[in-house]
């Protein structure tokens, strides 16, 4: 009797193992065949780990194909209903594969993730970013990749036209030496970081009719000491805040901070502006909004 029970459990175990093997094989085979391509031949299930590119998908009307975004996506509000899959440093590979995407947009430095995805047979779009011109270049490349080339071309063309228009409006005006501050400690002028003479913020600043006060330092971000701030004495200071919404009092408190360095021309002449909004840090289709606001602030 006991031997029969043991035999039974052994058979049960073998049966379970068999079921597991068949199940695993099915699971392994299914994603390999992948979702069917869209009628236009483009991918149907896109995961974007790059907020700027997510915005581009929405701008060219490919938003219905986006099935997952990064943890840092905030715009447009519709991204809130999509699963979030980590970011540059902590992509959630398991969650990502679980969505069975047929295109994943990732950063150029995410080489491990890229290898993993390629092993799993999933196509990738590698995002690299340098300056303002890259925004529309990326938009066109993304459009071509998802089979929405014509739509992307028209959106990119419009962005370029509107940027040119911003530049035209400030043409011939005096260009104030401007420090574009992209971060500092709250309630203190410590750990000041400014946009240096390279990158899309620098390009936006110049386009909007400013001379970059630290443009000679060819880096995307420059640590600015109080001494450097006083020595360079910019005529305008733009203090960018993003990621959090600040109350009006708090924005005013941030503006008041700069009075510590009252000898700086911008402080003396009351040209310190606190700007809030994450369109300044996402090199996507909203660069036009950022450029316009910069131009309005610099040339009221």
């Amino acid at each position: 009797m006991a031997a029969a029970a043991a035999r039974l459990t052994r058979w049960q175990r073998r049966f379970r193992a068999l079921v597991a093997i068949i199940g695993a094989t099915l699971l392994a085979v299914t994603p390999a065949t992948g979702p069917r391509p869209a009628p236009d031949g483009g991918p149907r299930r896109i995961v974007s780990l790059v907020p700027a590119v997510t915005e581009m998908f929405f701008a060219i009307g490919a938003d219905d194909r986006v099935v997952g975004v990064s943890s840092y996506d905030r715009f447009p509000p519709a991204v809130d209903r999509l699963p979030r899959l980590g970011g540059l440093l902590d992509p959630n590979v398991e969650g990502l594969l679980g969505l069975a995407p047929d295109l994943v947009v990732l950063y150029g430095t995410q080489s491990d993730l890229r290898r993993q995805l390629e092993r799993a047979g999933i196509a990738v779009f590698v995002y690299t970013h340098r300056d303002l011109a890259d925004v529309t270049a990326t938009l066109r490349a993304v459009g071509a990749r998802v089979g929405a080339g014509a739509r992307a071309e028209s959106v990119a063309g419009r962005i370029e036209h509107e940027l040119t228009e911003v530049g035209r409006q400030v043409q011939g005006r005096p260009r104030p030496r401007t420090l574009l501050v992209i971060g500092h400690e709250p309630h203190a002028l410590r750990q000041l970081q400014a946009s240096g003479g390279y990158g899309f913020l620098h390009d936006l600043l110049v386009l909007a009719g400013a001379e970059d006060a630290v443009g000679d330092l060819k880096r995307e971000s420059v640590g600015v000491s109080l001494e450097m701030l006083l020595a360079r004495s910019p005529e305008v200071i733009l203090d960018l805040h993003y990621g959090v919404s600040l109350s009006a009092e708090r924005l005013e408190a941030e503006r008041q901070l700069w009075r510590r360095v009252s000898a700086v021309t911008a402080v003396k002449t009351g040209r310190v502006h606190v700007l809030a909004g994450d369109e300044f840090v996402v090199p996507g289709p909203r660069v036009v909004l950022a450029a316009r606001q910069l131009a309005r602030t610099l040339h009221p």
């Binding site: 971060g183 400690e185 000491s225 001494e227 959090v244 000898a263």
Partner: protein, 334 residues
């Protein structure tokens, strides 16, 4: 007895003169040319005087902060090394520094938004973190009454450090992109403190630490030889150890909350000073304070001028200058 008093006086005067000279001259040097005539010209109001503001708003607070942080960390290093009878001990060893870092990380990541008497959330929260770690260390020291050894204290300290560092990394992991950049920069240490408020705030715990330290030199001499010997000479070992821990931890907490964890000063300056002035703590403690302050002021001077207008994190300079200097001293002695 007179001999040692004379040595103390000679050391304090010697190192004090160098420190005072450095403190006076360091604000005059920097990446920008400053005209002293214009800086102190009474006809230009301070509001509009760039030279005066570079001297008094940008450079002087930095030099003061460097002096205080260097002195605090170096004296704390001396105390930890003799208390734990371990030449590798430093202000980081028992976790106070990691506690201060954790406090700062929490303030940055959760966007703590308050100021108290002109001091902002990050240094305040950092100092609170150091006090939290201090209470753990203090609890450990109290357990020593029940027979725990220095080795146990050391191991416990290393564990507390590892634990708190893990929490620091966890909090960093939770942080948003821009906050991650902020936390990383904070962890590199910076003496550009931007105002006198945080410096004044740090002076209070440093003053308490100094007052406690003043009673310690003889005890430290005995403790660094051995607890039994100290006890035989009538030292209340447990009470003395607590006082030593409290003072060194307060000094460390004040220094780290002011400038972030500046590497290397707290471990290497005590050794350099012992090589120069010998092992007697009545000489070593004041010498370490003065020398440590001077050393960090000079390192910061280098950090802000070597590649001006770009600045190096001062922790890199302390290690790059202090390391070879210490090796040279060691080799010369052998």
């Amino acid at each position: 007895m007179h001999e040692i008093r004379r040595r103390v006086r000679r050391t304090v005067v010697g190192f004090g003169l160098i420190a005072a000279l450095t403190g006076l001259l360091a604000p005059l040097a920097g990446g920008t040319r400053v005209s002293l005539d214009r800086a102190f010209d009474p006809s230009i109001p301070f509001d509009r005087n760039v030279d005066a503001q570079i001297l008094l708003v940008a450079r002087l607070p930095r030099v003061l902060a460097a002096g205080l942080v260097g002195a605090g960390l170096s004296m704390a290093g001396v105390v930890f090394q003799s208390l734990l009878r371990n030449p590798l001990a430093s202000p980081d060893t028992l976790g106070v520094s990691a506690g201060a870092s954790l406090g700062a990380m929490l303030a940055i990541t959760f966007q703590a938004d308050f100021t108290v008497a002109g001091v902002s959330a990050i240094p305040l929260s950092s100092f609170a973190g150091s006090l939290g770690a201090l209470s753990i260390v203090y609890g450990l020291a109290s357990a020593r009454q029940r027979g725990a050894t220095t080795t146990v204290l050391l191991l416990a300290g290393v564990t507390v450090t590892a634990l708190l560092s893990a929490v620091v990394r966890f909090v960093q992991y939770l942080a948003d992109f821009t906050e991650t950049i902020q936390t990383t920069r904070w962890l590199m240490g910076s003496l550009d403190v931007a105002s006198y408020g945080p410096i004044l705030a740090a002076c209070l715990p440093l003053a308490i630490a100094l007052a406690l330290l003043a009673s310690l030199p003889r005890v430290l001499d005995l403790l660094s030889v051995g607890e039994n010997l100290a006890a035989a000479r009538g030292v209340d070992v447990v009470a003395a150890e607590r006082r030593a821990l409290l003072s060194a931890s307060l000094a460390t907490g004040a220094a780290v909350s002011l400038a972030g964890p500046v590497a290397f000063v707290g471990i290497i300056v005590p050794h350099i000073v012992r090589i120069i002035v010998g092992a007697d703590h009545r000489v070593v403690l004041p010498a370490a304070g003065l020398f440590g302050g001077t050393f960090l002021v000079l390192c910061d001077l280098l950090a802000r001028t070597a590649f001006a207008p770009i600045e190096l994190p001062v922790g890199i300079v302390t290690a790059l200058i202090g390391g070879p200097f210490f090796l040279w001293l060691l080799l010369r002695r052998v």
